[in-house]
Amino acid sequence: MTCHGGIRQKGGLSFLFRESALDSLTSGDFAIVPGSANKSTVIERINERDPELRMPPEGSPLDPNEISILTNWIKQGAQWQDHWAYVAPNPSLEPPELSEKKGKRDLDKFVLNRLRAEGLTLSEEASKPTLLRRVSLDLIGLPPPESLANKFLDDASEDAFENLVDSLLASLHFGERWASFWLDLARYADSQGYQKDNLRPTMWMYRDWVIDAFNQDMPFDSFTIYQLAGDLLTRPNEDQLLATAFHRNTMSNDEGGTDDEEFRVAAVLDRVNTTYEVWQGTTMGCVQCHSHPYDPIRHEEYYRAYALFNNTQDRDHTSDEPKMELLSSPQRTLKTDYWKQIELLRETGDTIGKTYEEMVNAFMAINPLKVPVMRELPLDSSRTSHVFVRGNWLVHGEEVQPGVPEALGQPQSRHPTDRLELAQWLVHSKNPLTGRVMVNRFWEQLFGRGLVETLEDFGSQGSVPIHQELLDWLAIQFSDEHRWSVKSLLKQIVMSATYRQTSKISPQLYQMDPYNTLLARGPRVRLSAEQIRDQALSVSGLLNGRVYGPSVMPPQPEGVWNVIRHVKGWQTSFEPENQNRRAIYTFWRRVSPYPSMISFDATSRELCVSRRIRTNTPLQAFVTLNDPVFFGAAQSLATRMLENSDDVLNQISFGFQQTLFREPTHLELETMQSLFRHSLDLYGDTPIEVSKITDGIGEESPSMAALINIASAILNLDETITKG
């Protein structure tokens, strides 16, 4: 493909499309003549003895078996088979029949069937505490609330796990956790990007829309249509319009001398790339400059996709216009309250007094927020779109009409003509990719690795799924059985025996399948940046669980935001309760994201990113040991340990219970006890250190100092940082 693909077509030959492979070569001969191996140059060249002429040019010649396969294929007519991901999954796919293993669910049958071929089977179910913590971190991004935890751990019935799952799915924190996932794809941030990186102080309204959509279990087809084209619906409501802020998360540039058109074009290109990456797992970046080097997508098809997005009013203005005006929900509540009181006063005729005037003024003073949204140009001023020659926006090639790449399947009889039709096509039952791509994303969130590992690339350069039938079946389940309900899909996955397996690895299994692609064990994955912060605040009792609202600025070291003079500095949220909100509410500035988030692999949100690459670095240890947020959590957890009991063993045990929902093992207890004694020794002679470490928490004693270090150690255990 490197030599005969979309960029290089040596000798005039490209294997990307059947017609180009069958076309005549520069030499005038034909590489492939269907039905006639003798006339096909390809066969001649692979049989060639002269190494100068033989293909492939490097390495040893093809073996006789390979040659005979190719020869027979040409004899039989050289049929072209599309790449697996471009062929829609078969809707009547059934799970394999398995006689034994009664009680396993359909999902597990696919996995078992594959495992059996390897002489493996599923691992046993994980322990209850492990499962409890795993499913809670997965579904709501937090450790389980105490009541749910106790209920589940005490409940020996068959339904215990399902009840737990149902409660978690119903929690408002569910939306926060899944919004965190979506916002990486939406490249959501609270600033505009580029040099000045001015703030976008109302963009959080979109973030709240996403949280709410997940909480309402908005079907994924509506979720898609509203975000891509809510403005094009007939009489769209406020929420449908707000959803289109999805594509207003593109960056805008406000520097002297920049050409607004250049950056408008850059934003439109980003919308094309993001849309195709998010819904189609297709990398369109290459096609901007030339035909796709590896996948059958033509250069001009990119610009047909571009044309669909090239007709909105936004023009890289500093103001981020066009915007819609709307009230946030606290504003709405307040405004309604005032209105009720005004009406009350009117009814009683009390409209002359000071109270009435104050009420009216207060009512009037609540101004709607202005949020950037998509708005189409009127028909008479719509733009024409052209191919950009070699991707250069200044060099226009031929004019193009809106459309979608043919290789990805065709919507009925004609191409979509606007964003709405595009969105409808993306969630159409004949679209081969959307269901698979999305199911794969959710799977990766739960298992730490997609069934197709390259979440962002389902093309020929992406990885091939080991469990393709499972992927296809789940995709069909998602759209047909669950009618695009994300909650139902997630429930189906977490209820499976596959998900509930223990994550313990035997050396043999590790040798055989180090990355768990076969799924013979449960997931074991380091927590995300958001989960790590949220968990520390939660188990230490510091978390402010308030849902929704403007972004907040929890404390960060001085000078971190001293990036650019044009924008006012980081103003630490004054109210203590806003310092301990969940990570998703932390103000996200593109040039300088929150330090602890970056250490744990969060992205800067400049571009759509499907996969955060998980790293394991010493800088992470600095965060969870020394960042004041985590040190504060250790202090608070220690205080709770102390309040719980006078006995150090019980205190340690309580710390483990709070964090890991299990009793410490003998070794853990002993290790922590010895840490306690060591610390007591070290703090015994240094009362100044004791007063420093216990500063602001009321109890100043060497044993408190020792407990803080124990709490910090618990918060830093691998098991704590990991979802086991």
Partner: protein, 487 residues
Amino acid sequence: MKIIRELFHRECEHLTRRHFLKQGSLGLGAAALSYLTGCHTSLLEDHSDKSFLGTPKLVPKAKRIIFLHMAGAPSQLDLFDYKPLLHQLDGKPCPESLLKGKRFAFITGIPEMLGPQFRFSQYGASGSWVSELLPHFTEVVDDVLFMKAMHTEEFNHAPAQLFMHTGSPRLGRPSFGSWVNYGLGSENENLPGFVVLVSGNSQPSGGKSLWGSGFLPSVYQGVEFRSKGDPVLYVSNPEGIRRNVRRVVTDAINKINESAYQEVGDPEILTRMAQYEMAFKMQMSVPEATDIGDEPEYIHKMYGTDPGKLSFANNCLLARRLAERNVRFIQLYHRGWDSHGSNDFENLHGGFVQRCAEIDQPMTALVKDLKQRGMLEDTLVVWGGEFGRTPMQENRQGNTNPFKGRDHHGNAFTMWMTGAGVKTGITYGETDEIGYDGINSRIHIHDLQATLLNRLGLDHEKLTYPFQGRDFRLTDVHGRVVNDIIT
């Protein structure tokens, strides 16, 4: 290609873990390092048959780079690129031919030409031109290579800085230092391989993206050593936790983690244990490396340093200390060069003169100091802004600015280099008689990048990483090694 890369990385991880497992004990720097720096060089060498990109590596001339970036873009016409003709043209309207079809950041209408603002003389055996603003620097002109016909397409600070350091004017690409560490790994087990030092009134316009790892794994991102507070964020223990306490806490964490490893068998746990050990070591090595207080008096005199202060001089000395400790890529930013003439800070006779005074002695000392220690043998020092300045006086919105100043200009500007594997005592490239355009031996930013990578033993066309379906590289699809300037 993508899958091969991916596999290689996996293999690398896998090997490292096996290596770790064999040793079976804690605190193994080498194994820990694999995660800090990607893959340890020795492991790469073990597998040289399928090394990075299946091609033999070039012979490296340099082991590390110190890049002195003058953020804001100093005027080459007032420092190095002497144009006597501009004296005569001073105050005359700019010919239309220079303005036709050009975009400027601020100039509109017809600006006036602006002569050299300072006295120039020739120095050294090489006869290099330097203005009166850099008296110290005149002493080392024979040790450096001047590149006078540098050029770039970008004419605004952030995109131009991103272009210089990531090869693309847009956000989101890996930076130079990240690429280098991804390609070569680190040689220091206790310090990051890519360190950033910032001085001046604030950070450079391009922000932290200038040392971001883009789509490369985040281990490769630059670590900013701050001058105030913790040199590395959160490297210090909280108040009330001394090093001996941190030791016993780390031991307890790792003891329990080790038992977890015995129980669940996930090698990732071993990596985490190693990282906690490494963090513990860094708590010593970072303050030790960054404490310039222990340098002898004559060194402080030479650099003009004042320990504890935020200054370019301190950062230059720190750069030498980091280079001694084998940090692979040391990036300095000194900000405040944007001499438009719109206010006194941006005045060629105001802020600009001050900036020159801030850098002259320390950068000269850095060159001399590296030389006397024999470190120019394997260290490359690069100096320059993100673009140059116009030979015209800036006229914002058609009005001549109140102070002497010049607008942004990408067509031609000067950079200098010294050290391992580059020719010195010469000037390469020439501009026209008013310094507006390069007329021969021009070097594009991508060419500079290709050349610097080449000196480190990396082929800029082979150093790639797959993202969004494409193999990306620092030099995008451009760049050529400038063979004329290398040894």
